[in-house]
Symmetry: C2
Amino acid sequence: MRIVLTGVAGFLGSHLAERLLQEGHQVLGLDNFLTGSRANVAALQAYPGFTFVQHDVEDPWPDLGPVDAVLHFASPASPNPRSPFGYPNLPIRTMRTNAWGTYHGLEMARAHAARFMLASTSEIYGDPEVHPQREDYWGHVNPVGERAVYDEAKRFAEAMTMAYHRRHGLDVRIVRIFNTYGPRMRMDDGRVIPNFIVQALRREPLTIYGQGEQTRSFCYVDDLIEGIVRLLFLEAAPFPVNLGNPQEYTILALARLVNELTGNPAGLRFEPAMYRQGDPKRRQPDITRARHLLGWEPTVALPEGLQRTIADFRQRLARGD
Amino acid sequence: MRIVLTGVAGFLGSHLAERLLQEGHQVLGLDNFLTGSRANVAALQAYPGFTFVQHDVEDPWPDLGPVDAVLHFASPASPNPRSPFGYPNLPIRTMRTNAWGTYHGLEMARAHAARFMLASTSEIYGDPEVHPQREDYWGHVNPVGERAVYDEAKRFAEAMTMAYHRRHGLDVRIVRIFNTYGPRMRMDDGRVIPNFIVQALRREPLTIYGQGEQTRSFCYVDDLIEGIVRLLFLEAAPFPVNLGNPQEYTILALARLVNELTGNPAGLRFEPAMYRQGDPKRRQPDITRARHLLGWEPTVALPEGLQRTIADFRQRLARGD
């Protein structure tokens, strides 16, 4: 298949591109390097089936010839307001990447009767009032809150994707991605796993805000990509599908595990909980639908996934990336 | 003030334009006549301060010179899937009018350091789980449901409006408009008050789906416009404000009132409730914020407002509009 993939320079985009290229597909990767990495694209250039197009998906897309599938994975994705790569610092661009980018992708898919896949997110559930979250939960999002620039933009993108399906019979896929981690994550976008690994490798104490009792679930990237590929190549699935790891860890347990795996003797440092508007207390996928539909579930446990991620971070730090 | 107003050919847009023109403002009215009426624009041409620009707000806006305020009131607004003017039949255009239109309006306001007002809607509350709805209620919307093309687009527009306020310090207003009725409503967009009045004036029985026990609240258009104007000219109000009439009526009581006011002897006709996905069972504004902030509350009771609306419909039907 000839596949257009936006956000190809990003963490998930680059892993997905590699997997598709390894399976023999042609990948036309789009990115503007707003939050993605040139190193990720450089690595993909080794595959003859790969073509890179530097383009901002907010703007009308260039003609890329006939395509079989359009996968929209471009978007800033870190909620951290202290990172220049977090969407709180890229509010308008985040909204346009998701709304304009989805529209252009849908129009391209429609023009070529191609399949369209939207990378959506657990953020569409907002600060959920039910646990775990199933796909038919409508979510709990503040439309005028700080995080709305991401949450509402992804909800808009889902709504538009379904509108093209209903109106134009487009073959669509919506994957709601929960927290994912692994090699190639940005070290500096303020998310907890990169933060902890970088601190641990620098032999600094890991910073925990509050008591560290809030829980998170983390999916290893290879597991996630496996689920995405299965969903992409399924006969039909015009509805959202959660992909994530239901196993919950407290932030405290995660920090101890990172220190253990890196042999970091510096321990933990507790700081007062910073109030972050809309920061969900808990989020955990119900993956019943993915289990039944795709026969999928995560296979990489956190200690194993963290070890591989730590090895990657160690290499990149040594190279000075 | 020199005011840009989108959706000027629509029901609310034309009333708002008239009020602003009567107060001596200049109004640059935009519309593409997708759901608006040429007769509404023709009536406004009597005011020397009025300029009409036929334009689709989804597309980049023409240079309109210096402006003091941008008011975005364009959008299909009827949820009725049986009407060609309902947003279920204009899904992509509805989404683009609200997202692209809001963006272009915000950019114009930003370029001129002008005030921006978004016409939002009670639909952002979806099928609410609390009654009445206050502005801090986050709503209950299905992001992949049939009505999402409107609900999620308006939520996106609110989020983007707040992002421009937070990011660029833009002076913004968000009015969440509940059901409104009055002269100049489309007779054919499938909403309950026009449906009933047209049937009554034709001496047909009024069609009630189900038992008619679902409740609605209806605000007369002059009341709504008064609230909008007060909000527009307030010193600052960068948060949503509900405007609507909290008085609830059952559909059955409304139908009987219309028959009484029109002297329609044909009575009622009960049909099986049509399942309409996402149709809210109940929605009622909490207008405490508008009361405190604007000293506003509705003053026109339903029988009085209906009489004026019936008189307008009678004239238009006689003219063959």
